[in-house]
Symmetry: C2
Subunit: 456 residues, 2 copies
């Protein structure tokens, strides 16, 4: 089938469009503010690292309903009674709203808005699905990457998971998010051409096996990549392969272990290489690794310089979904401002547009966050949400990906270790401001009255 | 940035391209056969449902190295010593190979090849990453969908998970795979326009909350979608909302419960609706559902007609990755045929190209599979791998998605319940043919000799 546009507005749930039609047909006009946040951190996570904003903003700037899209919707049985006016509206539709967001690479905690959208209600509503999928997936992977990188304690991590990612495009996005989280690069070449991420590759067992002789395969590879070759040594017998490399006089940049006891093997390989004068030859390791395995290997004294991490990283395997939500918090109908919140026990939300304030202690470390009303001011606190889009256009070019990675690095370094250790981390303190609590109480009592009126 | 092509050949791991360069520069020419299979079923799975072949074949037919792709690689430091001839080769490269595959919708078990590619070794190698990500992701989701659909015991399942999928394109592919697995449709509109999958949508809490009065929001929605409206009733108080619908004289096609005790609520809602003569109004349920929750709800007597399943389905949350591998099994170098296999204890593979034979018992149920050598014949067994591509072109148009769904339904119905019950299912018997075992022994002893020669 012909290619569909990357920023198709049909990359959404149908109910966004049925709600749009209902607003349109009922002439319900309002400026709406929605906030995107995560109610609870996933199991095994004590922080999140924001990522995915760039793709969300690209979508907001570029989505257009094509004639094909409009015709598809017009023929959909659910829209049988919707007027031509709505379809004409879709044809003209551009996103004209304002977006506040945490920059990519910012640490974020439960209940803190990552993004706030203020726009005519139809525009703000129909972008929900794309924003959620873009922000929550990359945030999930950037977070996992940050944990893996932390476990590696200064050794490089290369993201290797494209083959296990949730489809080819998920692999590219995972590579981007993993780089934000601190990986030195990826195996995904498309991520290299698209985002300028350094790409790494060695060779597969199939290459070694294609030759009748392992040494022959090594020599064939080394010839072509004299400076960059990383030889895969576990196809038959790891230590025997190292001996062969030494006997053949090869001087690879690295060797890769992909199976077996990485601690013992890496120590033995290091000794052999060093004894032969190959002290510059690095040891790469891969094979079902994650932050716990890396941490354990290094604690055991593994002599590994670079880790390749695949499936666990590209799918955030132990926590493969982030429960992001996108909630209506405020409406302007004519000149009237109305607040919205949910008050059910499990799913309570705070009304009104918000700002997140981050306080540092005297050592410059993050001490606590306060979620307050937008417009509140706290001396000495950093305001994490910034206006990134106005009238549907970005206010400034996006930061380079290296700058995003650097921001993430600084943010993580500022978070005391007790809040980010891999296991049993303390919960970072996030408070609600007095003014936001007061607003919640005000809205709650109004809703009680309204519900009483409606139901009674 | 400008759109990148959907079938970019850079949607691959860099090592596929370094191996390609090494084969080219060493003039290593061979016809290679690779097989794609899953070594072990993921935890909690007793079968897999093959999906994703269509996107893999589209890729094989359409990938092309553009000038931009070639220039990117040429400037990559790793290729510094690679000759112009290689880049010229990439410019001309088309997939010219042969592909055998299990049709989408086929039940598949551990170690059974889903796909076999036979092509010049460079072509067969560089498509590895795309084939793996395409086949394993959709297979994972189709399998999860089959389990959820089985739990629903005849009630409809709609896939709702786009917002939690691994990026926008993963949502579309998840919708496709979920439909193959037996869902009646999806919320993802792009999946509707691309694949003709029925799309469903109701309304969000935000719509109800945008109005000052819940009843007003219901009336506004019902006006626009008189025949299709499914009202969301849990924004404030589910039973009160049902009373309101009845009092207002609305006759929605359905009501949706999204929180609370689905068993008790659905029974009470059903009673209220029936008492008011709204016997045709269906009850939809959603909210963190999966196959176990659905099974438990129905066992408890829940009066639910349609389930919306999101995160758990679109990410296969309890088993979010499938360990698919793509292994070199055979080479033709000149007129010589060589077999390849791995013999390490954890990662042993069988050499040579294979066929999967499925036997039925007298009741027509699946009884056992035999993995044999390609070209073997077994009376009364179905051969599951069929030739779908020759010289790089498909041999016939792909089956319609509805036919794929129907095949999946028939396959699942043919699998005795003990092999597909949601928990503690028996392991379906998969045997290795005598001839394949004999080949393995033959290759093993050859490799022993070779290794002895090489190492000794």
């Amino acid at each position: 089938m012909p290619e569909r546009p990357q920023h198709s507005p049909l990359l959404t749930d149908l109910y966004e469009l049925t709600m749009a039609a209902a607003y349109f047909e009922n002439k319900f006009e309002a400026l709406a503010s929605f906030e995107l946040f995560v109610r609870h951190l996933p199991p095994g996570r004590s922080f999140l690292l924001a990522a995915g904003l760039e793709q969300a903003l690209e979508f907001l700037e570029n989505f257009r309903f094509s004639e094909e899209d409009v015709e598809f919707l017009r023929r959909h049985p659910v829209f049988a009674h919707v007027s031509d006016g709505f379809f004409e509206y879709l044809r003209q539709l551009r996103f004209t709203g304002e977006v506040w967001a945490m920059p990519e690479g910012t640490l974020v905690f439960a209940e803190e808005p990552l993004v706030r959208v203020t726009a005519p209600i139809i525009e703000a509503q129909i972008v929900e699905t794309f924003l959620l999928t873009s922000l929550t997936f990359q945030t999930l992977i950037a977070t996992k990457a940050a944990r893996v990188v932390q476990a590696a304690a200064g050794r490089g991590i290369v993201e290797f998971g494209s083959r296990r990612a949730h489809g080819p495009q998920a692999g590219v996005l995972a590579a981007r998010a993993a780089y934000i989280g601190g990986c030195i690069g990826t195996s995904n070449v498309e991520a290299g051409i698209r985002y300028g991420i350094p790409t790494f590759g060695t060779l597969a067992h199939s290459f070694v096996m294609a030759f009748n002789d392992e040494g022959e395969s090594f020599r064939a590879f080394q010839r072509v990549f004299p400076e960059h070759v990383v030889l895969l040594v576990d196809t038959y017998d790891t230590l025997a392969a190292i001996d062969k490399i030494i006997e053949m006089g090869l001087r690879p940049r690295g060797v890769r272990l992909d199976s077996g006891d990485l601690v013992e093997l890496s120590k033995q390989v290091r000794r052999k290489l060093d004894a032969a004068g190959l002290t510059d030859t690095q040891i790469f390791a891969s094979g079902d690794l994650n932050e716990m395995a890396i941490s354990a290997a290094l604690a055991g004294g593994a002599a590994i310089d670079v880790f390749g991490v695949g499936t666990e990283l590209a799918t955030s395997k132990d926590a493969p979904a982030l429960g992001g939500v996108y909630k209506l918090v405020e409406l302007e109908i004519g000149s009237e401002r109305q607040y919205r919140a949910k008050f059910s026990p499990e799913k309570a939300t705070y009304p009104g547009t918000k700002q997140v304030f981050r306080f540092r202690n005297q050592k410059g470390e993050f001490e606590r966050d306060v979620i307050g009303r937008s417009g509140e001011r706290f001396a000495d606190a950093e305001e994490l949400l910034a206006c990134v889009m106005r009238e549907g256009r970005r206010r400034q070019p996006s930061p380079a990906l290296d700058a995003v990675q650097e921001r993430a690095r600084e943010q993580l370094a500022s978070l005391p270790m007790r809040y980010r250790q891999l296991q049993n981390a303390d919960q970072y303190p996030v408070e609600i401001s007095r003014k936001l609590k007061a607003l919640q109480e005000e809205v709650r009592s109004e809703v009680r009255q309204t519900k009483h009126r409606v139901i009674g």
